[in-house]
């Protein structure tokens, strides 16, 4: 992010104290809140006072319901026959003249058919094969880092590792892998926030992505023996092999797999470093007992919630926690709030690496849209922390993190760190 844009965002107006806003006017879908890590108190208040909350007129996103408690979010997620994903799963609506269909934004049966084609890439059989590859990349990246010098952890570790993983899953030309990072950023960026200047630029870059992947599709489709990469799966899968005739749907699913496999793990990998620095007692506990890594991985994913929400559309009039939701209204499940619900997690804002029920976090969602790559993501984080602990006494945060200006992607663009060797 350029410095000028960065400063513009820093100066954006926002109210850090939700109690200075009338309850009925409370509107958590403000990117500035998330950019300043100030969203927490808003959701604390909503969970306590108005857990299913209507915002009638958000400037950017229009009328929407916020669902903020763990159990209510789970209910919405599990009832896909009432709360539809068709057409979009983020609070912002897709533009009618540039709609990207993707299976996460479809209802059954089409969702199930398409998801089943690509699910094996992140399935148990493939996981065992992937583990040594992931470890090799982790070691190579960590061994290239300078000791005692300040650098941006997000770029050199989080982005680099998840991009390499994604390149592996797509069997993407390895030297060009940062194209994937770029497309991931572009896909979720709002114009004027430092990534793209305009909606036209965003579309143009996404069409370049489509063009590049069309070449890969043609090459994979012509092979007699299908590979076990994602593009080969789509090109040979029974429910997807004609998808190239629907280029926007191909692009939509690419965006889904690129963002799903990239932003999420990236931001969790940065979050772990930040959380351990903010909680030195937990860092000590980890160094004393590296067996806690798998549980810590779940706690990091809970604490960070790398995708802040998913949205649904009500297919019928329905009641939720005493509120009347009308057919066609947007319903936003704030996972970032459900993961801090004190009814489910004791001392929810604390980062506790041996928290007994960390696995109950809702960052992967529940129901038929539950994250398909959850085990790949967890595996990357686990291996990364195993290798980090072997090498360094501490990954020390030496400056302020810069967060995404987004109500959807909940993460970091900068995290300045310095490594302290053993």
């Amino acid at each position: 992010m350029s410095e000028a844009v960065d400063n513009d965002l820093r100066n954006l107006d926002y109210e850090p104290d939700p109690y200075k806003v009338a309850l009925e006017s409370l509107d958590p879908a403000q990117p500035a809140l998330f950019f300043h890590a100030a969203e927490g108190p808003y959701f604390d208040r909503l969970r306590a006072e108005d857990p299913v909350h209507l915002t009638p007129d958000n400037e950017e996103f229009g009328r929407y319901w916020s669902v903020t408690r763990y159990e209510d979010i789970k209910y919405v997620d599990m009832h896909h026959e009432i709360f539809s994903s068709e057409g979009g799963i983020t609070i912002s609506d897709q533009d009618e003249d540039f709609t990207l269909p993707m299976f996460i934004a479809m209802d059954p049966p089409k969702h199930d058919e398409q998801r089943k084609v690509v699910a094996p890439v992140a399935g148990p059989r493939n996981l065992a094969t992937l583990e040594p590859t992931i470890r090799e990349h982790v070691c190579e990246i960590l061994d290239s880092l300078p000791i005692g010098e300040t650098f941006n952890w997000v770029d050199r570790v989080s982005i680099e590792l998840t991009t390499r993983m994604l390149a592996t899953l797509f069997d993407f030309p390895f030297e060009e892998r940062r194209k994937l990072t770029r497309w991931s950023d572009v896909a979720t960026a709002a114009p004027g926030t430092g990534i793209v200047e305009s909606e036209d630029q965003r579309r143009a870059e996404l069409l370049e992505c489509l063009e590049f992947f069309t070449g890969l599709w043609q090459e994979r489709a012509s092979r007699k023996e299908p590979g076990n990469d994602l593009i080969s799966m789509l090109a040979h899968g029974q429910s997807t092999r004609d998808m190239l005739n629907r280029p926007m749907e191909y692009l939509g699913n690419l965006v889904l797999l690129i963002v799903g496999g990239n932003d999420t793990t990236r931001n969790s990998l940065s979050a772990g470093v930040l959380a351990l620095n903010q909680n030195p007692d937990q860092y000590d506990k980890l160094r004393a007992n590296p067996d806690l890594i798998p549980n810590m991985v779940s706690e990091i994913i809970r604490w960070q919630t790398p995708l802040a929400h998913m949205r649904r559309l009500a297919l019928q009039d329905t009641e939720l926690a005493g509120k009347q939701i009308k057919k066609g209204e947007k319903v936003v499940m704030w996972y970032v709030s459900g993961n801090r619900d004190p009814e489910v997690f004791d001392d929810p804002n604390a980062f506790i690496i041996d928290r007994p029920n960390a696995r109950k976090h809702m960052s992967f969602g529940f129901g038929i849209h539950r994250c398909m790559g959850n085990r790949v993501g967890e595996m990357q984080l686990r291996i990364a922390w195993e290798e980090i602990l072997k090498r360094y006494q501490k990954v020390e945060v030496v400056g302020e993190p810069v967060r995404n200006y987004s109500v959807f992607v909940h993460g970091y663009t900068e995290l300045p760190v310095r490594l302290i060797g053993k």
Partner: protein, 106 residues
Amino acid sequence: MPKITFIEHNGAEHQVDAENGLSVMRAAIDNLVPGIDADCGGECSCATCHVYVDPSWMDKVGQPADREESMLDLNPERESTSRLSCQIPVTDELDGLVVRVPEFQM
């Protein structure tokens, strides 16, 4: 109390006493049987308590209902005897039940 045997992917067997009325998943969790995650706590919404029912028990255990079916259907490792163990209530009829635990939960 009915006895249930869980067989891990590596062949390790765990025979546990299960409480009538609770789920097979709960019997595994309460007895620290490895390989059952049960992230959602038993509401058929995460599919991380997947087991393969021994074929000879399938008649007594029965087939999945619709919601369970939609969750199981997403799993590439699904077999004809796959069930979510949170959706199998323990009864005296199931005394001696044998289920296999997959290598990974999804």
